[in-house]
Each structure stands twice: as structure tokens, then as C-alpha cells.
């Protein structure tokens, strides 16, 4: 028997060009660790992304990958999974990619519930285009010259939106704890249906204040919620810094499995006989 693959075997030879200290490294390490822990076949796993620093991740892994169009990773990933249900499909991207330009796909992916995993590496900023405000940027973040008094808009609440649109599995991780991300990701991949893993992934260059997250992020001790109303109460009131599996209420993934098998050609010929 071949020795099991190690996390490093799931990385490609291409070296990331992310900034030193970027949280996305931690997600890359967690992806490799989860793939190794689940002994996923590199030939049957596909990582699909949009555009952004975060969306570069598939190039750094040694599995199949698709570096797609900005905000469209989910569309490609869902199509792929429906056409090839035998594959493990993981979609990744940033908060700009997933909640701005790809926001509509996010809503419908939660609603449709195709059996894929979606990781959003949320640094509350557009990293790749040099530090503009994103949907999750704090209302008064004034570090960008484009929004010198802050964006002045309430930040988007990813978990609340995911819940409202029907996501059956919602978890949050933090780049300061890659082993926790790896655990959550391995559960997400095993979950039958759409799993949404929101990762607080610091941007050390444009938002150095995010290094303070280390002191405030904490794991939620309680069991994951299964009641949507209770989860709604949590997601509206929470700080956004609680990690762990937060909500889990499985429902049948799409496409539905019909009991009636499609008719064979002979059946159709029989029915059409005159």
C-alpha cells in the first residue's frame, strides 16, 4: 500500500506571492492539511476560484483547479459538481469576489444547495487592487484614499445572509488557527450539501489593525445551532469573532434524486409504437 500523502504533497511547486504575514497562507496550509487528513485523491478534487489575492490559491495546490472570472467561482463550481457528482469541489475567493461582484451567486448557491464547499477568505478589503473598501469593511475604516471618512455603509453580515438564503452548514474560522480551519474544512467537505466556511483572514498590508483579531477571536463553546430562528438571533447580534461550526441543518442537496429512473430508449420506443 502506498504511504498516505502528507499536506506538502497537496501543494504545487508554485510559491505564493502573497505578502509575508497574509492570512491566506494559513488557509492554503489548512486546505492541504484537510485534503491529507481526508486522503482526498488529487485527481478527483477540484479547487475553483474567482479573482483576487485569495483566488490565487488553486495555483498553489496540486489538484485540479480553475482560476475563474471575478465573482463567478460559485457558478463554475456548481456546474462542475452537477455534471461530475463524483468529484470533490471546493470553491474559494475573497469578500470582494464573493459578496460584491459575486454576491448574487452567493445568495443562490446558499439557496440551491449543491454539494460543494465554499471558503470565503475575508480580509474586509480588496487586497489585489491595492486596498479599497469591500462589503465587509467597517463603516469608519478610513485608510483608503477612496473613502477617506470610511465607506459609511454598514458591513455585510455573511453568516446572516447565508442563513437567510438557505445555507444548511455555516462555520467560521480564523487565519491565526489553521488547524481549526483544517478541521472545519474536513467537516465541510464531508457534509452532503452546500457548506459555507467564512474565514477571517488578515490583510497585514492594508489593514494592519487586523493583527488585533488574535486577542478577540474565540471559539464558540456551544453545539452548532440547528434552529434557523435561533441562528438568526445569533448572527444578527454577534460580534462576528466567534469561530467554529455555528449552524447545521442538513437538507437534501440539489439536484433532487427522483425515484423514477429516466426511461430507457426501449421504453420510449415502446410508448411511441403506433
Amino acid at each position: 500500500m502506498n504511504a498516505p500523502l502528507k499536506p506538502k504533497d497537496y501543494k504545487s511547486g508554485i510559491k505564493p506571492i502573497w505578502c509575508p504575514g497574509c492570512g491566506h497562507y494559513s488557509v492554503l496550509n489548512a486546505v492541504a492539511k484537510a485534503m491529507a487528513a481526508l486522503e482526498l485523491s488529487r485527481d478527483d478534487t477540484v479547487l475553483v476560484s474567482g479573482i483576487g489575492c485569495s483566488s490565487r490559491l488553486p495555483a498553489y495546490t496540486d489538484s485540479y483547479g480553475f482560476h475563474g472570472v471575478h465573482g463567478r467561482g460559485l457558478a463554475v463550481a456548481q456546474g462542475l459538481k452537477v455534471a461530475r457528482p463524483d468529484l470533490t469541489v471546493i470553491t474559494l475567493g475573497g469578500d470582494g469576489d464573493g459578496f460584491s461582484i459575486g454576491g448574487n451567486h452567493f445568495l443562490h448557491a446558499c439557496r440551491r444547495n449543491v454539494d460543494i464547499t465554499y471558503i470565503v477568505m475575508d480580509n474586509e478589503v480588496y487586497g489585489m487592487t491595492k486596498g479599497q473598501a469591500s462589503p465587509t469593511t467597517p463603516i469608519d475604516w478610513d485608510s483608503s484614499k477612496l473613502t477617506p471618512h470610511g465607506p459609511g455603509v454598514r458591513p455585510f453580515k455573511p453568516a446572516a445572509v447565508a442563513l437567510a438564503t438557505g445555507a444548511p452548514w455555516i462555520a467560521r474560522g480564523y487565519s491565526g488557527n489553521p488547524n481549526q480551519i483544517a478541521r472545519l474544512l474536513s467537516e465541510a467537505i464531508q457534509h452532503k450539501g452546500f457548506s459555507f466556511l467564512h474565514v477571517l483572514s488578515q490583510c497585514i498590508t492594508y489593514c494592519p489593525e487586523q493583527t488585533d483579531w488574535k486577542a478577540i477571536v474565540h471559539e464558540r463553546e456551544a453545539e452548532p445551532l440547528t434552529d434557523a430562528s435561533e441562528a438568526a438571533a445569533l448572527f444578527f447580534a454577534e460580534s462576528g469573532f466567534e469561530t467554529g461550526l455555528l449552524y447545521h441543518q442538513p437538507r437534501a442537496p440539489w439536484p433532487p434524486q427522483h425515484e423514477q429512473q429516466p426511461a430507457s430508449l426501449d421504453d420510449i420506443a415502446e410508448r411511441l409504437r403506433v
Binding site: P20, K33, T129, S175, N179, Y206
Partner: protein, 169 residues
């Protein structure tokens, strides 16, 4: 748990700790090299080599038996392995002093982990090995502290960038 099972569990932790330290230093060295911070990149490369040596030593002690295979989240540390450099402490403009301080903190937390393991175990062979690893980490820390004592303080303008990353628009 038998003595030898305890030893295997300890060695599994030591292998993971050293391997994670080595991988993280390599990753940081590559990132800093890509950002042309060569002095710090070279320092992290030397730390990766140091961790690789210790890893080889631990692996040698672990050859007898197959080590228990633990998932990354099943090890006895709350988040990351204790010698892994924290991402929060890294920056493309960091200087050698800051890199040494980071490495020193890593050596100390690895040393504390080994010392605690030695104190907590009932198995004598495990306690002896864990204590010897704690001593090695203390020696590394002492050498780093010596180098640190010779370095000038970090300049207050260390993080000021003549060509700042933020979009000028």
C-alpha cells in the same frame, strides 16, 4: 497507556512541532525573499535549517515503531504547534531584530511545551527525552538572545514606506 505508547505519542508531537516550525520558516523566507527583504529571508532560512536538523534528530528517535497518526487538530496544543511563527508578527518591512524576537518567542514556547510534557508524564523515558529537548530549545533561545543583544533597536520609522502599498487614487 504503556510507557512506549506514551513515548510514541510524545514523538508524534515532537515530529509535528519541528516539521511545522521548519515549513513555516521556509514559507516566511520565500515570502520575504519575494519582497526583497533579504536579510530577514536569510535569517528565516537559517532557522528552517535549524528546525530541519532537530526534526531529523527526532525522526531518528522515532524509527522503532510507527507513530500514531493524528489529524492536525488532534495534537495537544490549543491552536498552532508551539514553534510555528505567528502570522501576526510578520511584515514585509520587518527588520532583523523583529525576526529574531519572533524566533526567540518560538523557541521559548517550544521549550515550554517540552518542559510541560516532561513534567506531566509518568513515563520515565518520555520525561527524559522531553526534558532534553527542552534543554536544546533553551540553548537555541540563549544563542538568539545573544545575537539580539548586539543588534540596534528597531527604528521608529521601520514601517514607513516611501512607496506605500495603498492605491494612490
Amino acid at each position: 497507556m504503556t510507557g512506549s505508547a506514551e513515548l510514541q505519542r510524545f514523538l508524534a508531537h515532537a515530529v509535528e512541532l519541528e516539521e511545522e516550525a521548519m515549513t513555516r520558516y521556509q514559507e516566511l523566507a520565500e515570502a520575504l525573499r519575494a519582497h526583497n527583504n533579504l536579510m530577514v529571508a536569510e535569517f528565516f532560512e537559517s532557522m528552517a535549517e535549524e528546525a530541519a536538523k532537530h526534526l531529523a534528530e527526532v525522526r531518528e528517535a522515532a524509527t522503532d515503531d510507527a507513530l500514531p497518526r493524528l489529524a492536525p487538530w488532534e495534537f495537544d496544543w490549543p491552536a498552532e504547534a508551539p514553534e510555528s511563527a505567528s502570522y501576526e508578527a510578520v511584515h514585509y518591512r520587518m527588520d532583523l531584530r523583529q525576526a529574531l524576537e519572533l524566533a526567540l518567542a518560538n523557541e521559548r514556547s517550544a521549550g515550554a511545551f517540552y518542559a510541560e510534557f516532561a513534567a506531566a508524564t509518568d513515563d520515565e523515558a518520555t520525561a527524559r527525552l522531553a526534558a532534553s529537548y527542552a534543554d536544546e530549545e533553551a540553548e537555541h533561545a540563549r544563542r538568539l538572545q545573544e545575537r539580539l543583544n548586539e543588534l540596534p533597536p528597531t527604528s521608529p520609522s521601520q514601517f514607513e514606506d516611501d512607496d506605500p502599498a495603498h492605491s494612490p487614487e
